[in-house]
Subunit: 196 residues, 2 copies
Amino acid sequence: MTRGRPIAFSPDEAATAAMQVFWARGYDAASTRDLLAAMHISRSSLYQAFGSKEQLFLEALRRYREALIGRLGRRLETVPTAMTFLEALFRETADEAGSERAALGCLIFNSATELGQRGDLPSHHARQSLAAITELFHLAVVQAQREGDIAQERDAEALATYLTMGMAGLRTLLKSGADIDQARQAVGLLLDTLRR
Amino acid sequence: MTRGRPIAFSPDEAATAAMQVFWARGYDAASTRDLLAAMHISRSSLYQAFGSKEQLFLEALRRYREALIGRLGRRLETVPTAMTFLEALFRETADEAGSERAALGCLIFNSATELGQRGDLPSHHARQSLAAITELFHLAVVQAQREGDIAQERDAEALATYLTMGMAGLRTLLKSGADIDQARQAVGLLLDTLRR
DNA sequence: CGATATATGGAACGATCGGTCCATATAGAG
DNA sequence: CTCTATATGGACCGATCGTTCCATATATCG
């Protein structure tokens, strides 16, 4: 079937490595040389397989988003109640305070803040990814309403936006070195709003 | 007294112009050429007067912080109650949704997210500036407690951190194109927490 | 008037950027 | 085996980065 020399690396692993570089350094600050080193491929292979730095980023962001939303979506189905899902998610994030993981943040929030105002494809995809997070929060809120943990008459869309805002703010706090007590207290107040 | 050729520009105006460039483009993305064009001075004058791009940024951030904190602090003293101050601040920010002003964001939150994880001077000053915002919120919360709008037994520090988190999240929402209704609803929920 | 000290404009520097190009390697097809 | 098609390594490109340097302009001091 296929002719010519076969690929000598796993595009999957390479894309994952690229994702980690974009995650740690940001879109602009991640140089193609950084990416090549992490992906363990040559410059030719990068451009052959992914086209450009921009397209590679879109692929990396897509993978991150699908992995995150997929993982959280599955967890939402597994967990006893949607309310415990939301509580655990925010509390676990708060507990990252001070760690290297906290300094990394979330690729989606990182990208939304870095690229939010540009009009290019990366900016558009970052916004869409943020919207996907809000959608997931919306699912969780609606489920919590069904389960009786959030009053039916409350606006699920507004609560979902509020949770996205809270997570974005929490990520900012963690990135600027908030300690674990500060993060936990702020998250506690955030979650109080859900029950009212 | 002084010898030699006198300066031909206002360092004050030049620093203000630089601040606006850093505000709009971010620290890394603001090139010295961008800065020179906005400041209307020559490359030599920039390095003569400010030393380096890094020092110029520190000066710009300092001016922004002092102007912001000063303005808000004065407003807090002028306004009828601290609670109305907080409400007006968040509601007015939400109402920026969709505007160019919203796309700009706040230099302090922008810098905290861009530089939060680096160990250099700009990073350190960005964190300090974020802490200054939390301090202002703390002042407002304590005053609101004195004025009877927030219960005395509530943790003023935790509420201050919560407000900083909320403003950071709101800025992120605005940067990623949230519309005015979303922003207003999220802010409404945020402010509900103050009264509980 | 020099003499001196600072400011300015702009050329130039080495480093790094994303991307291209080409010679070479390596597979399958006939 | 030859032919063909794709992959790879790495030199190279022009653009841009922050910064330095130097000749020149412009002020004050004696």
